[in-house]
Amino acid sequence: MAKKKLEDIAINGDGAVAYAWKQIDPDVCAAYPITPQTIIVEDFSKFVANGEVKTEYVCVESEHSALTLCAASCSAGARTFTATASQGLAYMWEMLPITSAMRVPVVMAVANRAVSGPININNDHGDAMAARDTGWIQMFADNVQSAYDNAIIAPRIAEHPDVQLPIITNLDGFILTHAVERMTPIDTEDVKKFVGEFEPVCPLLDYKHPTSHGMLDGPDFYYAHKHQQVEAMDKALEVSEQVFKEFKKLTGREYHLVDEYRCDDAEYVAIILGSSYGTMQETVDQMREAGIKVGAAMPHIYRPWPEKELARIMKGKKAVAIFDKHVSLGAYGPMYSEVVAAAADLEKMPKMYNFIYGIGGADTSVSILKGAMESIVKGTADKINYAGMKL
């Protein structure tokens, strides 16, 4: 694959996503502006206004209609993108399982933000976690570069013939959406070659071969169709690994189902999602300097759940800390129970600790994460802990 080396640029996460979409140039984009996603649709509107993309951009009256339009447009045979956050994603919820059941590879950026109430515009993962069981693939970004890279990788995974599922690319609200970082873009021609042409399955606009989409199922067909989605999700793991390899060949940037940092010889591992993965890497470095063998891991693909990779990383460790930027009220952090399930088949299960943190945008500093990790090393942590809560 021919590749041109481009100069680094300074850009925020929303801008990076919009930039990636401009390079991909989807057929249709339907979106409603919501903080902190707004810059994506504002930037993209400018590309449309200046004729830089061929996209049919529809300014819908709500997120419910945004995702509806996207599901329908993708069913019709158009490569389709959208973006949302928080209340917007909640408002879309009815259409989330419908879109995945229709097996259309819509790509959606989610600028993660706390869900009301009380109303709060800052970052946590309450929105993504509420969308977790709706049949969408979910990717997380830990910095602006990976937010950009994920936007380019996502359609490749979603549109793969064995997958055909919609995909969410998560990026932390404000921390990634609004903060300017250094980023290495990919040449537009290379992006277009990497992403390729959209090849829809049974598109509605192929009127000479009419098909019915979104039909009524009785119990047996419903069950069987759900199982087909399960199988497609399983395939998405293999496909993601393959696409990551191709992406590395193109850019030199390496992603895995679970990204790891100094886990090999670690005795203690932190599992964390999104922008805090970077903060955790700094925490690991500082603790390593003090002679404590710590590592960090981030599921880059959160759905489908990369259970085997996580089990491999946890094997032989003394303790694992699972950091959740959301709490399933009345239970645990959502990732905690999933990581515990992933560790359940290990010969010797590490001690498992849950840290709820960063709720509604609460501070996530190195000192907070270090305090949490030190408490698992000392064995003073509780099963569920609320890190960084000030009041």
């Binding site: 209609s65 996207c70 447009s73 045979g77 509605l204 606009l205």
Partner: protein, 315 residues
Amino acid sequence: MMSTSLKNLNQLPVKLTSGHRLCAGCGEPLLVKQILMGTQRPLVVSLSTGCFEVSTTVYPYTSWNVPLIHTAFGNGAATCAGVEAAYQSLRKQGKIKEEMDFVNFAGDGATYDIGLQALSGAMERGHKMLYVCMNNEAYMNTGIQRSSATGMGADTTTSPAGSVSPGKQEYSKDLTAIMVAHNIPYVAQASPHNWRDTVEKAKKGFNCGGPAFINAITPCPRGWRTSPSMTVDMAQLAVETCVWPLYEVVDGKYALTAESLKIAEGKIEKKPVTDWINAQGRYRHLKEERWAHVVDKMQANIDKRWEKLIRLSKD
């Protein structure tokens, strides 16, 4: 476009096939077949959740030999708009050559109530699509609950007639007027008893070059408590009593059509609302003397709306 004669319409390909699972006497398939006779271009049909959708798309069977999409209840207009947006994009790119049409069919619940926002949004944005409301005046699919299209005095499962209530206590929403207020090129009220009028209106809707809306009275024998053999007569009675006037609004200009025009011109007699009430089981309780004032209010409201329509059509 061929002329609207039965001889010609008979020759058109049938897009909604027989074998669907709608109730005997349902007004919906009559109406849908008439609307689909309004275009001979390739088209995509979109459905909002409702009787019509669940009866014609029972997997692994389909009653459709044209492309068909359904997503949810309150978003038929957005679904149809999504297909149209894909078409606009692919046509501009030269990937589709033919001119195509897009139509959404929805019940009154999906149109007057839960889907009103999506409908308003799609009309405002100017998608080139026809939206058809199959108005049977209640949520029939889930067991005859009131909608905002339900007429005053109707007995439904959520507006039951009881010892202190005469059934639904509010007038129906004038959704057609709300659609006119969107300043779209074509809005009409239709009835399947008059196939010629309906097909003509569908033609105009498909050919108006922008968003079009047709609101059609669509009798439901189950919900109206009428005989399945009386469907066409009930639709006609709705028009003859001026409960459901036939008219169209082309670029903002009102014109009465068919029987409604004849009533306005004094060529046919306007029937009293009691004819409408006496023909249907859902109004059975209104025959009691104690609800006479409700019947009077119904008649007064019909007269008021009818006179307003006559005024508007003379402007």
